[in-house]
């Protein structure tokens, strides 16, 4: 049964707000507003009826105080909270962007606080998440405050959020993603410094946080083990065929690294970063985007391409930086669960300036520690990130970054060099997509794996320990007897293998690392190291 209420509310949200205020004007009003509107739109179908703000429907296209929804990443939470009068004259609600005549005298007891955030459309969001919408047209209108979006020169929507529910405001952090529902207006930014410029402002009624996969998935999949294993093989083969010139091993490593996420901070169990070395340079400078990016984008919800060049390194911002008390975004301000693909082919000879050095350092810092410094005057604040990294490098290792894992791309087929290049850099509309239902299955496989939990079985743990001690002993003997210093197995190697074994288990939708998976992992790793020599 569909009630008319949601449609009435969409048509005229202000009246509903006033009606609610008439019932309850106490301190808990903001919380009530959130509950009430949230329950009206609890049904996903009804929820989808709320007009979305995106590139096709920029905020300017809505009439003032229209009800809209906005899927966004919180970019900046540093603006000082504002005070508003909770009750305007004549028992009218205050806040939510209402305008009224200034009362002769202000009742300071009625002051409430609202938090002011800045939100932008999710950086690197894949097209397939938009519910069957056409390709976003490039909007003619430049977004307001372009410096607050991580990617310079990419069309996006940026909206100021005003959140009246204090308990919600406390929980939202920078780079959190959520869909915000509220009334759109236009208001000046930051009362102290930017008094003049009005920006689109969303007065939030309620919001829905997203998981790191943006869309919900399940783990483990209910399908039998064999079918998952088969699906996984098909997926790897598809990635290898379309994006990696049939290099199955490389495709598997890419997939595993894309599935990784931060599992624990203390002790650190962080996603391993991957260098895909010996990756050829593009055949023509115009086609500089490897097709791998498009392929991953078809599978994962948020993928960002960071094309390194002297220009991007030296002149663009990687770290968010607070200038004039306004937090400017940087390339690396990405939502949790993002995948970042770095290409080095655009870098030419030249100087890297101080800013460039800092930028590269920040990138390295995320790869190794998954923290990003936001630069504030006299202090910097570390923010936790959760980004999976794939670096494409022409050389035998990345020129700029030290990654956890490095695997050289190996062309199995005897194709000519240019042929390989053309395969790796073909335009994205030349990708042979699997049937839609297969693609959906791929997505639920990787989506589930991205949120899954996995442990280590007891006998596997025992096995792994013994394995490590034994290996270290033999390698030590080898290194002392041989004149040439032999690479020693270190704790880092153990950590890397453990991490990869867990990812392998996740990709198979297994809930435990078993001895079998451990051995499979070691084989995979051995094949990789043999390629390195």
């Amino acid at each position: 049964m569909v009630s008319a209420l949601p449609f009435d509310v969409i048509a005229d949200p202000s009246t509903e707000l006033q009606r609610l205020f008439d019932q309850d004007s106490s301190d808990s009003f903001p919380a009530r507003v959130a509950d009430h509107f949230s329950s009206i739109f609890a049904d996903p179908i009804v929820f989808d009826k709320i007009p979305p703000v995106d590139l096709n429907n920029p905020p300017e296209s809505f009439k003032d105080r229209a009800l809209i929804r906005f899927r966004a990443m919180v970019q900046d939470t540093s603006a000082s909270p504002e005070m508003y009068l909770a009750e305007a004259g004549g028992h009218k609600y205050g806040g939510w962007g209402v305008v009224y005549d200034a009362p002769d005298e202000i009742d300071y007891d009625n002051l409430r606080e609202c938090s002011v955030f800045w939100a932008v459309s999710i950086p690197g969001e894949s097209d397939w998440i938009h519910e069957g919408q056409a390709q976003p047209i490039s909007s003619a209108q430049a977004p307001s405050q372009p410096h607050k979006y991580p990617h310079p020169n990419i069309a996006h929507v940026g909206i100021q959020l005003k959140i009246y529910n204090p308990s919600v405001a406390e929980t939202l952090k920078s780079t959190d993603t959520a869909t915000f529902v509220g009334l759109i207006t236009s208001e000046p930014r930051d009362l102290d410094t930017h008094a003049s410029d009005a920006v689109p402002t969303l007065h939030v009624l309620f919001h829905r946080p997203h998981p790191i996969t943006i869309l919900p998935y399940t783990f483990p999949l209910p399908s039998p083990r064999e079918s998952i294993s088969g699906l996984r093989r098909e997926l790897i083969e598809w990635i290898a065929r379309e994006a990696l010139a049939d290099d199955i091993d490389a495709a598997e490593w890419v997939l595993l690294c894309c599935l990784a996420r931060v599992q624990s901070r203390t002790p650190p169990i962080l996603p391993p970063s991957l260098t895909l070395s010996r990756f050829p340079s593009p055949p023509t400078p115009s086609l500089c985007t490897p097709v791998l990016c498009a392929v991953i984008t078809h599978l994962f919800p948020a993928v960002t391409l960071l094309p390194l060049s002297l220009g991007t390194i030296n002149d663009s911002c990687f770290m968010p930086e607070s200038r004039e008390e306004d937090l400017h975004s940087g390339w690396l301000q990405l939502p949790r669960g993002s995948i970042c693909l770095v290409t080095e082919s655009g870098v030419t000879e030249g100087d890297i300036n101080e800013k460039g050095v800092l930028n590269l350092r920040a990138t390295q810092e995320i790869m190794t520690h998954q923290v990003l410094d936001y630069v504030f005057p006299y202090s910097s604040f570390k923010f936790e990130t959760d980004i999976a990294w794939i670096v494409l490098s022409e050389g035998h290792k990345s020129a700029f970054f030290q990654t956890h894992i490095s695997i050289p791309l190996k062309m199995t087929n005897e194709i000519s060099d240019t042929g390989v290049k053309e395969r790796l850099f073909k335009p994205k509309d030349e990708i042979t997509l699997p049937p839609q239902d297969k693609l959906e299955m791929f997505r639920s496989l990787v989506g589930g794996a991205k949120i899954g939990l996995v442990g280590v079985s007891e006998d596997a743990a025992e096995f792994i320990q013994e394995d490590f001690v034994e290996e270290r002993r033999t390698s030590n003997i080898a290194s002392t007897s041989a004149s040439k210093p032999h690479s020693k197995i270190t704790a880092d190697d153990l950590i890397r293998r453990m991490t990869m074994a867990k990812l392998l288990a996740l990709s198979l939708h297994e809930t435990e690392v078993t001895v079998d998976i451990w051995n499979r992992m070691k084989e995979l790793d051995a094949r990789r190291t043999s390629r390195l020599d």
Partner: protein, 971 residues
């Protein structure tokens, strides 16, 4: 009451401000919309409270009327309904038109019958400003300048009969009422209305209470208060200490020093039973209470002065006494309350509006001092009539015509600059400190307005605790419209500032000149334990207890970096670095004082990758005072020192400090020291010994202080430490720089089966579950450790005892003698004066760590032990196993020198043959040397030898790379 007569003879009394009649008129216009805080050049009156209050009360000559007038203006309390003290029965019916009853605070002023003022105007003419002797009690922070004239003048004659009893004080309003009614001034209101507008708080009563507090508070009340709260208290030295009249002592000191600010710990108000409610009042109604307190303070100052004069106390007898009293009369006294628990900036909420709040934060920006014209002085060019105009909405409204009816010429009023009143004002942006920001949140910022003495106290980069009044200003959508979006902006009017915050370490106090201290009596260092230091006393007690623990050294070292295993000596060394030695300077000598000897200890960690060096640095950065963390890879010389930039506000060139300058008085942690460029590193030479940074840029040539300890971490050259090579070959750092580090530690990775097993177990254990936990151990939390170090650094300045001195000498000689080996005929350098200095600093650090005022034998022993351990690992010549500081100081050890000499001799033997003239192939020479030698011939060593020979002109190298040949030069 003595006030009524004064109405009649205004000119005879100092207290009367003659010119105010006119001002009154000027300030009459309707309430101004409030100014935006950052409006360019907006002087302070902006700050949001009705500026018109200022100086308007003096229209009435009676001090009581000062209050009534003030009330008439409408006080700034955010209350609507006036609730008068029901207990106070007024003999006079309130005039129904009384503005005090009008609930609106803004409109009421216009509704105030202006006749009163016009009536009084003739009295004030001719307004000659020269007669003003009593400064108006103008405070920028509290915009209402309650111009209470000191009541003391009235009081003193009464002192004998009224006995200062409360009852007598309470009588005042009643007795004054008839007089007032006799005066029949229409605006006069009975004194009973001196309640704080809209509350039950009787202003008169609170003033009496405050007076009683000032005269009666003793430390014992504070102690009792603590006991009641169940907090541990400090034992008094003797019972008399608890009986001191604290504030009387302060007053006398203020009189003697000419200080006008009294810092008032409001916890004392709470502790003193009669004034208990003042505590709540001052938090709730600072706007009213603080000016009232100012008045009481002045009264009390006069009272004490009067008493002292009568008693003929030294310096107060006879004419000097009167002079002193006159001095006090002319001064403006300010009470600066503090002592609230600081809250987080993000906890400020609307209910705090107009209340006294206390926050802590980091100064990120401060405007230059803004001269804030408070009163403009105009003179009529025709008749020389003068008028003073109060600032209004940041503007001075020039009178369009001469206000004198006789003259009334239009456009003749001209500003006389040097007769205008100015005050200092500054707007400061304060950001939350990193420790106060919840994880994953960005810091918030708040604007502060500081005035008068507090201007320029805090500099960007300082941490501070401020007490102030929280203000909210409505923001209009359009300044010319009356519609608003119900938005308010907020800021703080600061009444008290304290630099450095308790949670974290402040700056090293010896590095700041005393002029940086916030003025005022009542919270000085020396008094801290005595009356406001309850928390401090408690903390101190705790810290002292801690310092008595026999294993405090181990405990502190363990707490430094709890997650890192082993490495005890490294932790101890760094711990002593945090405590630091004492800074010494030679006060006499050329150029106004000799050099300053650094007490800062520098530590360098070198080791294999993955040995948690960076982690240690991160820990230290969190604990250290003014700790700055930078990575050598990412920092440039400019980033470390200073750069010149244009200030966004003033558009002037300013020098912005880099990491080293920012960490002045603290610890600068530099990671990846080896990856630093040479240019950058060269800066450190100056910093580490001279402790200054010289800047010559954009026409600015200056030397900045960088009195910082440096904790650096470096990786060995080949990323893995080669134990067969001396340390200088392992670290790619100039020996001159290495020698500037007091301690140098090698952190190496070793293979051991049982350790490996443990490690594997540990690691696998971590991966067993998805969210692992840490086990707890006996360690101090960072905050406590920080407090401990801060306390030691600021309070303990150990002096070396004779015993310790002898031990230092002995150890030094011994260390130097370590190089003496009777079997070898060579002399190695094992210790230089640098090492002696390091030893002294380390022993001082160790004594500080024990909270000991003297450096004793055990301190020296531990310092020597640490030095030796460090030297043992770093200055050991890997070939001979002997310690040789020459390795660190010049880069070449004695053994190495001998080796080179041998090699040179052999090489010459080879070259001396006939083939020497033809030239010997480089590789052949190496091979032949290797055949003769029992140890491997080191390519680098060989190269050094050749280079030496080449320089001496004995040989010549021809060709490149593998084809090089060495040829002897004849002659």
């Amino acid at each position: 009451m003595s006030s009524p007569p004064r109405l009649d003879f205004p000119s005879s009394d100092n207290d009367v401000d003659m010119s105010n009649g006119t001002q009154e008129q000027q300030t009459m216009p309707d309430a101004p919309p409030r100014d935006p805080l950052f409006l360019a050049g907006t002087p302070s009156t902006s700050a949001g409270t009705p500026a018109r209050l200022r100086g308007q009360a003096p229209a009435t000559s009676s001090p009581l009327r000062g209050i009534t007038a003030r009330r008439a203006v409408g006080l700034d309390t955010p209350k609507r309904t006036p609730l008068f003290d029901p207990g106070s029965s007024s003999p006079i019916a309130f005039p129904s038109s009384s503005p005090a009853k009008t609930p609106s605070r803004r409109v009421n002023f216009t509704s105030d019958p202006p006749e009163a003022h016009t009536d009084s105007e003739p009295l004030h003419f001719p307004s000659s400003p020269g007669t003003i002797t009593t400064p108006k009690n103008r405070r920028g922070d509290i915009h209402s300048s309650l111009v209470f004239t000191p009541r003391a003048a009235r009081r003193t004659p009464r002192a004998s009969d009224a006995l200062g009893s409360d009852g007598a004080h309470l009588d005042i309003p009643a007795s004054s009422a008839p007089v007032l009614s006799a005066a029949a001034a229409p605006t006069d209101e009975p004194d009973e209305q001196r309640a704080i507008w809209g509350t039950m708080v009787n202003l008169n009563e609170t003033m009496t209470l405050f007076h009683e507090f000032l005269s009666g508070f003793k430390p014992k009340y504070r102690l009792a208060h603590h006991r009641a709260e169940g907090r541990p208290t400090r034992a008094l030295l003797d019972p008399e200490e608890g009986e001191i009249l604290v504030y009387e002592t302060y007053m006398r000191r203020m009189r003697q020093t000419g200080e006008t600010n009294l810092n008032l710990d409001i916890v004392n108000l709470l502790a003193y039973p009669p004034s208990k409610k003042l505590y709540q009042y001052v938090i709730k109604y600072p706007q009213e209470l603080i000016p009232a307190m100012d008045t009481v303070l002045k009264e009390f100052m006069l009272e004490i002065a009067e008493r002292d004069r009568e008693e003929g106390i030294d310096g107060m007898d006879g004419a000097a006494g009167y002079e002193e009293i006159g001095e006090i009369m002319s001064k403006v006294y300010k009470v600066r309350p503090f002592g609230l628990n600081p809250i987080n900036m993000r906890e400020l909420n609307p209910s705090d509006t107009e209340k006294l709040v206390c926050i802590k934060g980091l100064v990120i920006r401060a405007t230059p001092v803004i001269p804030d014209m408070k009163v403009a002085f105009f003179r009529c060019l025709t008749c020389n009539h003068t008028v003073q105009v109060e600032i209004e909405r940041g503007k001075i409204e020039e009178p369009s015509r001469c206000p004198r009816d006789v003259c009334a010429t239009v456009g003749t009023m001209s500003l006389v600059h040097n007769r205008c009143d100015f005050a200092d004002r500054q707007v400061i942006r304060v950001q939350e400190t990193p420790d106060a920001v919840p994880d994953g949140q960005t810091p918030h910022t708040v604007s502060l307005s500081v005035y008068d003495e507090l201007v320029d106290v805090a500099k960007p980069g300082d941490r501070m605790i401020v007490t102030g009044i929280f203000r909210s200003l409505p923001v209009r959508v359009n300044p010319r419209q009356r519609t608003m979006k119900s938005l308010f902006k907020t800021y703080l009017d600061v009444v008290h500032v304290r630099l450095g915050t308790d949670g974290h370490l402040g700056f090293d106090r010896t590095t700041r000149s005393s002029s940086d201290r916030v003025g005022g009596v009542g919270d000085g260092e020396e008094d801290r334990d005595k009356e406001n230091g309850t928390l401090r006393a408690e903390l101190e007690e705790k810290l002292r207890n801690l310092s008595q623990k026999p294993d405090v050294y181990e405990l502190l070292a363990r707490s430094l970096a709890p997650s890192i295993w082993e490495m005890d000596d490294v932790k101890k060394g760094i711990l002593l670095q945090l405590f630091g030695g004492t800074n010494k300077s030679i006060s006499r000598g050329g150029g106004g004082g000799g050099p300053r000897y650094r007490g800062d200890i520098n530590v360098l960690l070198v080791g294999d990758p993955g040995t948690s060096k960076s982690q240690i640095l991160q820990y230290v950065h969190k604990i250290a005072p003014r700790g700055v963390y930078t990575s050598g890879k990412g920092s440039s010389a400019v980033g470390l020192t200073a750069y010149v930039t244009r200030d966004p506000d003033s558009k002037q060139l300013v020098l912005e400090s880099g990491a080293l300058v920012l960490s002045d008085g603290g610890v600068c942690c530099i990671d990846e020291f080896d990856k630093m460029s040479d240019a950058t590193r060269s800066v450190l030479h100056e910093v580490m010994e001279q402790q200054t940074v010289s800047v010559a840029k954009a026409g600015i040539i200056t030397t900045l202080n960088a009195r910082t300890s440096i904790l650096a971490a470096a990786n060995p050259v080949g990323s893995k430490y080669d134990v067969d090579m001396p340390i200088t070959r392992n670290i790619d750092l100039p020996p001159t720089l290495i020698s500037r580090f007091d301690l140098l530690y090698l952190v190496l990775d070793q293979v051991d089966e049982s350790l490996d097993r443990k490690l594997a177990q540990h690691l696998v254990g971590l991966y067993l579950e998805d969210t692992p936990t840490n086990e707890g151990r006996d360690i101090l939390p960072v905050k406590e450790l920080s407090a401990y170090i801060d306390f030691a650094r600021s309070r303990i300045h150990p002096v070396i005892t004779e015993n310790a001195g002898e031990e230092l000498v002995r150890s030094y000689v011994e260390m130097r003698n370590m190089g003496d080996d009777p079997r070898a005929g060579e002399k190695r350098i094992t210790a230089t004066t640098r090492q002696l200095e390091s030893m002294i600093r380390l022993s001082e650090g160790h004594a500080r760590m024990r909270f000991s005022d003297y450096v004793e034998l055990e301190d020296v022993r531990e310092a020597v032990r640490l030095m030796r351990e460090a030297i043992k690992t770093s200055a050991m010549d890997p070939r001979t196993g002997k310690i040789d500081m020459g390795l660190l100081n010049t880069g070449t050890g004695q053994g190495q020198l001998r080796l080179r000499e041998d090699m040179r001799k052999e090489l010459m033997n080879i070259l001396n043959g006939a083939e020497g003239l033809r030239g010997v192939k480089w590789t052949d020479a190496v091979k032949r040397l290797a055949e003769q030698s029992s140890i491997r011939v080191d390519q680098a060593e060989f190269q050094e030898v050749i280079k030496g020979l080449e320089n001496e002109g004995i040989v010549k190298v021809v060709g490149e790379r593998d084809r090089r040949t060495i040829r002897r030069i004849e002659g």
